[in-house]
Every structure is written in C-alpha cells, then in structure tokens.
Symmetry: C5
Subunit: 88 residues, 5 copies
C-alpha cells in the first residue's frame, strides 16, 4: 500500500457505468515512499477522504474488495485516512 | 487509475479472437502523473473515446469488468472521458 | 497493452508442465512507449507470431484468457500481430 | 517477493473495515534488490514482525492468501521474517 | 516473464505457513531485459533450480498456478530452467 495526499478531484460524465456514484480523487505522491516517478494517481474513495488528507491507497484486485467497489472498474482505491506515522 | 490523451489507434488483423470487435487506442501519457517512463499505452475502449480526448484508464484485472470485456485479453481499458480536473 | 518486436525465442527442457507445448518468444521493446527500462520480455505466443513481427502483448491475469493458456503459468502473452499504428 | 526492513508503523482510525485489527507496518527498501525507486511501502503483517526485522513481502493477489487477510483490502503483506540470506 | 540467474537462497523460520516446504531462491537480474531497477527478486522454486541456473520467472497470479503453489503466498515463481536463448 502507498501513502499519498489528496489534492483534487476528477469529473467525468461519460464513464463506464460501474464508476457512477463513486468519487474519484487525485492523490499526489509524498516526497518519499512512492512507487515509480508518478506525480499523482487517480483513486476511488471509500472512506470519504477530503482535500488535504493523507491517505493510504491500495492497488490491483484488492482495490475492489470494499462493498460497492466489487464491480467498479477501479485499480486504485483509498482505504484509510492516515492519522500518524511512526517511523525511525 | 491514470489520466492520458488519446492520440491514435492500432490495427491488427491477426489477433486473439476475444479482442475482435474492440477498438484499440493509443493513449499518450500526460506530462505529469504517469507511471514509469512509458510514452504511451494501448488501451481497449469502452466509452467511445476519440482522438484528442483526455481519458481515464484502468489497469489489471479491473480492465475486464465492463460488459463485453470480461473475456477480452486486455490489461488496460479506457473507463471514462475526463471532463475536468480540479487540482490544487 | 504494450507494443514490441519479436526478436528471438527461448528454449527450456526443464519447465513447469503447463508451459509445455507453448512457444516462448523474446519481445524487444520499441524505442518509445514501453513500460520501465526493460530491454525485452519473454512472452507466450497465441497468434503464431514470427521473428520480426510487431506484436501486442498483454500482462497479468489477462494473459491467461486465451484457450490453452488458462492453466499456463504465464504473465505475458502475445495477443495480436500489429498491422499498422495511426498516431498523431 | 521482496526483502525489506521494518522501520515503523501507521495509524488510521478512519479506514475501510476489512483493515480493522490488522497491523500496518512501514517496510523500508534495502539498498539493493528493491523494485522501483520507492523508499518504503506499507505492508499488512501476518507474522508478528517488529521494528528492525528483515522481512519478506509479497504483492498483489497473493497478499490476501493468509487467513484473516482474504477479505482485507491489502496489496502488500509481510509473509516471513528473514533469518539469513546466502547469496554469492 | 523474465529471465534471471539463481545466486542464492533465503532462510526464514517464522513465515506464513503456506510457504513452508517451499524453496525460496534469490534470482539476480541479467544485465539486459529486467523490469525496473531491481537488483534481485526472491522467487519460489517449482523446477528444482540450483545456484548458477538461468531461469524464467513469472509474476503475479500466474505464480500460483503450479500444483503445491496454489495456496502459497507467492508473487514470483521460477517456472523453467532456460537451456538457450536465440536472439537476433
């Protein structure tokens, strides 16, 4: 899983119907600890995250485990709002 | 999910039969926010996207969730045409 | 999906039995549009591709969708021989 | 699978319910042998790993194979504490 | 699939039980043709590979297709010992 910061959202009228009703958020990489050189990723929200929140995102088939997302065409889902990180 | 721009299409007569009837589009990376150093990816279209459209693509097993793509040998599918992005 | 060029093949006597009978081809990255810094990938062939062919490869669970590959231990499969690419 | 070192943990009150009760650890990359440029990854723990442990993490659908993690929204799970590595 | 060279092995007493009885090998990248910047990967062995062998590894869900690995928490499995590569 990866940590990121919610910085925006994405609007799409013409979309695959299983994405209807889902909030699509822009999650920016934190300076350290992000895979690849990706500046941001688009993630489906399951925890009502908001702009500025530090969140945990999950990729791949696990991103469809939440109720309401099982049939959603998502490969990246926000599964937690991070309270704090204790790191050496 | 990742954002990209449709810049072309790909023709293939000899292909695995589950891809028959599907439109295969070239989706170029936007400057920022794309995974890896990939210049473009080939994506199966489910929303009737056209050249110049900014689109949202999904990877992996989720790319087979749309009707008609469940049996298709795809790992990247266009699931939305992006109207706008609100980003800080 | 990704575009590449078939440049060779791989021989293996001692292999997991579900790979028996499958042709394993070396697919080199084209200059542009390939994920990561990988020079080539090994792909299972489903369309009788040959040396020099420009092909479309699929990764992940979708690479097991073709008949005869469902039980094969493959993560990369050639699903089409590319005729032409129209790109802006 | 990848080798890493546990350096911390992550706290999240608001999280998807299938993650409740699971320990989320920060696993830092070792100098050599880590995919991408990722400084660290967040992994679900199944072997009661502790700070300073060298661990083996698994990605993707395999990270949900352990009892109690099948329904968890995880894409990275710690599956072993490494005793030693014999490498040429 | 990817080609690599077996250079060592990994020992772990405390591990998830589905990995018990499986040999975990260190597979180093060959100079060319490896994904990412990873120096090595840890792979589960299904073909009795040994130190110095050039092997073919498979990633993702396909790495659990071999008998005895279906329930194993692996994301990378050695599926063949390479005899030779014919490449232009």
């Amino acid at each position: 899983m990866e940590i990121g910061k919610v910085t925006g959202c994405l609007w799409a009228t013409r979309k695959y119907h299983t994405l209807a009703g889902h909030k699509l958020l822009i999650v920016e990489n934190l300076e350290k600890g992000q895979r690849d050189e990706v500046g941001y990723r688009v993630a489906l929200d399951t925890v009502d995250a908001g702009i500025g929140d530090t969140v945990l995102t999950v990729r791949g088939s696990a991103s469809k485990l939440a109720e309401g997302t099982r049939e959603a065409a998502t490969d990246t889902t926000i599964v937690a709002v991070v309270d704090s990180i204790e790191n050496e």
